[in-house]
Symmetry: C2
Subunit: 459 residues, 2 copies
Amino acid sequence: MASLQEYLRENRQAFLEKWFEALRIPSVSAESEHKPDIRRMADWLAGTLGGIGFDARLIETETNPLVFARSPEVPGKPTVLIYGHYDVQPVDPVGQWRTPPFEPTIADGKVFCRGADDDKGQSLTHVFAVMSLLAAGGRLPLNVKFILEGEEEIGSTALSAFLEKAENRDLLRADVILVSDTDKPGADQPGITYGLRGVVGYELTLTGPNRDLHSGLYGGSVRNPAQALCAMLSDVLGSDGKIQIPGFYDDVLPLSETERAELAKRPFDEAEALEAIGLDASFGESEYTVVERRGARPSFDINGLTSGYQGEGGKTIIPAQASAKFTFRLVPNQEPEKITRALEEFFRARLPEGIRMNLEFQHGAGGMVIPLESPYIQAAARGLASVYGKAPLFLRDGGSIPIVTKVKDRLGADLILAGFGLEEDGIHSPNEFFTLRDFFLGIEASAAILTELGTVGDK
Amino acid sequence: MASLQEYLRENRQAFLEKWFEALRIPSVSAESEHKPDIRRMADWLAGTLGGIGFDARLIETETNPLVFARSPEVPGKPTVLIYGHYDVQPVDPVGQWRTPPFEPTIADGKVFCRGADDDKGQSLTHVFAVMSLLAAGGRLPLNVKFILEGEEEIGSTALSAFLEKAENRDLLRADVILVSDTDKPGADQPGITYGLRGVVGYELTLTGPNRDLHSGLYGGSVRNPAQALCAMLSDVLGSDGKIQIPGFYDDVLPLSETERAELAKRPFDEAEALEAIGLDASFGESEYTVVERRGARPSFDINGLTSGYQGEGGKTIIPAQASAKFTFRLVPNQEPEKITRALEEFFRARLPEGIRMNLEFQHGAGGMVIPLESPYIQAAARGLASVYGKAPLFLRDGGSIPIVTKVKDRLGADLILAGFGLEEDGIHSPNEFFTLRDFFLGIEASAAILTELGTVGDK
């Protein structure tokens, strides 16, 4: 491994430059104006992987292209499928960025840019690890496939559809799936995420009068859609943090005492965590710890509200329409379809006269818990321990990577979720960053994981 | 009067052209980018009034200029002060306009344009009436002053401050004030509005975390400001249409049976009125008629909601902030200051942990009811009857013209609120219009009112 270490050290600047090239492409999947950037980003990835000897290509879909690449064959060794996504979240509120959102800027040992962590930074650690292993050893320790999609932030439609065909599943077939799209518990504390929450997202639009009305002429005689929206949404969540939709918790698996004990191992300073986000109080179900609430309990959040006049000053109207985007995080055993039916019924029962409603289902996926017995998980844990000097913690993560659940289910392979970034990196927020240290350690950790995975079995 | 009629008939095209010149100036007071248009509009008015022999000038203020003009003296005759406003509402949602909002477009006998009715169209009827009386008779039937402001839609700050000085009140001093900024009950049914609701407007901003958070990583452990906003706002109004703020109704004067009988005279077809705004149900206090709810009872309306992600698709965040603009319509005897105190207390009591609130008072004015005994009111009623062939109805109007209450109070003069437009003109909405018929009848009605006012007393 000495020459691998040398290669990693000597190529830091080269990795940085490649990473920055990728970060400068504003591949926002939620905004159609960025369609050309999505393609540029996919081309860049296929070019990069092709450049190191992978058989790399774009797979066209009805929406954004998939990037697929496979290494030269390494006979007798297992196959790992590395999943990542090259699309990023929108940047607004753009005014809150201290540096241009798509110009990677180094400050305080951090690289600030949309996608710096989620998920360009994390995905590229694997690309650079593979590059280093090839350069240093002449060959890889196992067969490597990459599947990189451009729609993770908007529901993974294309990859999801792709997985429905048997021949596509054969193409992606692997013994183990490796994903870095989660956090590690601390700068020097690696983790393997064994549980993920699911997510289901909606947009509720309420329509009242056929146009904005003068609130003086009509006020008091017409149901205000913004008022109706507030009333309907405020009913969803109790002040005790419980979701009030009948049947919502029916399928939630209770947390075992063993599992609670495991989760309690994660170092977590609540006061410090609150201070980091500028709050003096947390919220939620008091019978669960904050770590449990975030990772192992369902939740409800309004993501956006839109109605009427939002400009400077005021406008004395009854708005014709009001809408909200919102999501529920789900835990294993909850089914998005069932939640949708219950929600529709819940809102219908509260819909006031004079208001029409449209509940648009945007995306959904169940949560999952991964069995920890797999030899690949144990191998990955050894790899992480060798780089960070500490055994990884086994975690449940609150974020959802719906497609990952599906890839795992469809391919029937073991799954390793090992993140190299930190919670404070501010993914999905203005001023997202990835520390240089975490980035370089991530490349090293990926190389160590791949090396250990190559030792499993005797295929 | 024959030559007046002739002049009115022959100058229709000229009136239209002048009116359209004014409509093309986008004098939106709520948006600072339109500052130059505000000034252009004020200059245009002073120029137009100066052009017919008035002593016309701009009065500079800390905000938008006032336009003041007085006719050559008509000895022994009373003085009327005509109030109007030259600013208009914003045009958004701009996508809902079928014609360019600031290009007057004639269709179906209507002129579509922002400000076509409110209040450029209505104000200009008086300017053209005065122009016609001068041209036809060589002199006016009474002394006429104009005060035209550019901030009615945003709270009349400048005129309000102007009225505080005794010398300014002397400048505006009049026996009667004439205002056309309300509706008439029907195309051929004139009205004099004797009651106006007050209004008080606020913006409530709730702040949670110091940045938008990932709803997967934090959901269930952090209070969502958008959720808190919905809960706090939904508490303001009961499903019975009653405002739930303690003490809110304490100062509301009960409606007398006589007054209810007077209001019931207004022709009003509820089904037809609902159909016009695309609704199948009305809303509000069931013990009051729709006419009473709109004109003589207080109301609460959310005017706008803003939070988090409002773009295409979704964004899985807990927004850092959520805000709402909202107004209460008040009735006589309710005091804005008292409402503000009660509201602040109401919200404070509901503010959840982990959320900070800012309640910004934007503008406020009490409601009013005008005594009907004045000889000027009777004179105006005769003028209206002579043009429309029907005696005017006496009305209470739901809209607020806060400044009008103040002008009346500060000058101690009688007040005539006689509107020439119709409710369906869609003021404050996309596709605002004024019918050509109402516009030309308005000029004629103004001339008739001014003529009748000139016969009052023997000053």
